[in-house]
Symmetry: C2
Subunit: 215 residues, 2 copies
Amino acid sequence: MELKRADQIAETLEEAVFKGEYEDGHRLDEIKLADQFGVSRTPIREALQKLVLSGMAEQIPRRGVFVRQPGPVELLEMFETMAELEAACGRFASARMSDEGLERLARANERCRDAVDRDDSAGYYLENEAFHQEIYRGATNSFLEREALRLQNRLKPYRRVQLRFRGRMTQSLSEHEAIVDALKAGDAELAATTLRNHVTVQGEKFQQLMAGLNQ
Amino acid sequence: MELKRADQIAETLEEAVFKGEYEDGHRLDEIKLADQFGVSRTPIREALQKLVLSGMAEQIPRRGVFVRQPGPVELLEMFETMAELEAACGRFASARMSDEGLERLARANERCRDAVDRDDSAGYYLENEAFHQEIYRGATNSFLEREALRLQNRLKPYRRVQLRFRGRMTQSLSEHEAIVDALKAGDAELAATTLRNHVTVQGEKFQQLMAGLNQ
DNA sequence: ATCGATATTCTTGTATACAAGAACGTTGAC
DNA sequence: GTCAACGTTCTTGTATACAAGAATATCGAT
């Protein structure tokens, strides 16, 4: 389906905020953006409203729309929440995932292993994402799946950095195998616990890296 | 802070959708709404976009904005997700809740008991809401607290009906006491389990009532 | 040089206009 | 009577205009 101009612009702006092209507190100027995109202010205003409602910017009435990059505390909280959502997905998936789903999950993890063998962190990152999305799908709860995808997407720029730690890909793969085993065994608690710990480690690695950069 | 007109209209429309004033699939006519609220289409369009982005309506480009009342399956999924979010809040709160917070929680539950004694389901409903919000706060994770509040608010029209079941208030109160005990004991798993079960029962009661009405 | 008041400029929120696409009604053929 | 094509009407998406409020600049007094 064809997106209207305002929606296209919203996607472009969200990507730019993700990439850090605008720093925290930057005011998104309607007139400048209208010039930049070659449109009137109306679709720009509509696009900015999307950013505000998704939490990537905040609006102060009659003052403007300001970019909001999450600080370290908020990121920690988001990773904690992501860990709990993934644990919930794992719990449901352990009972509800079909045999086909388990097959796809195992294959996604094999592609993760191939990426580790190649020392390919970009490939690992993509296959890791697909691995987790297979579990969200396996929870067989569309609402929870959407919530998990939304937060996974929100944390995308930060999830990547954890792979910079030496040995993290190998460790992550090992954790994946424990997750797959728990799901195959139909062990709800084990699936929940291994997933929660797996994502918690992601958040911790991120915090450690940020702490290192700020010194 | 003073809300702009568009935001005021959005709140009014959201309340109307909550209350079921618009049935599922109803097209929200920009021109009619502009007349009704005595404004131009511009703030109406902005308000409608809020409804779309919060999931209460869907937009089909160049066709219009249509109200989306969740069906039974989606409601079940939302209650399931709510149960998992509350379990997560309970897990964190068991370790992080302050003594003052535990005091406030116990007092909120005493007000629930008073409402049961009066056979006051409206009062119970309000105090029950405050009870749960105290646990969200006690999780000491602002992001998770906002997510839980958002879904609690979304499920508001449906949570109320469960109290129509005979004996449900007394049962709910009993479950509350188990929750308070688990939090006081600092038992993360018990807190999570009792909260998850408590909210799952809410969802189940709702389904049973809907099934009865549809016959 | 600094500070407060006032004036000016700029940006936002809303109103209105217009083009394009969708929905609906009418007409003619079968 | 039904269906397809065409014409008309209505609604949406975007452009532009304007008023109001916020931000910034300037000027005068100390």
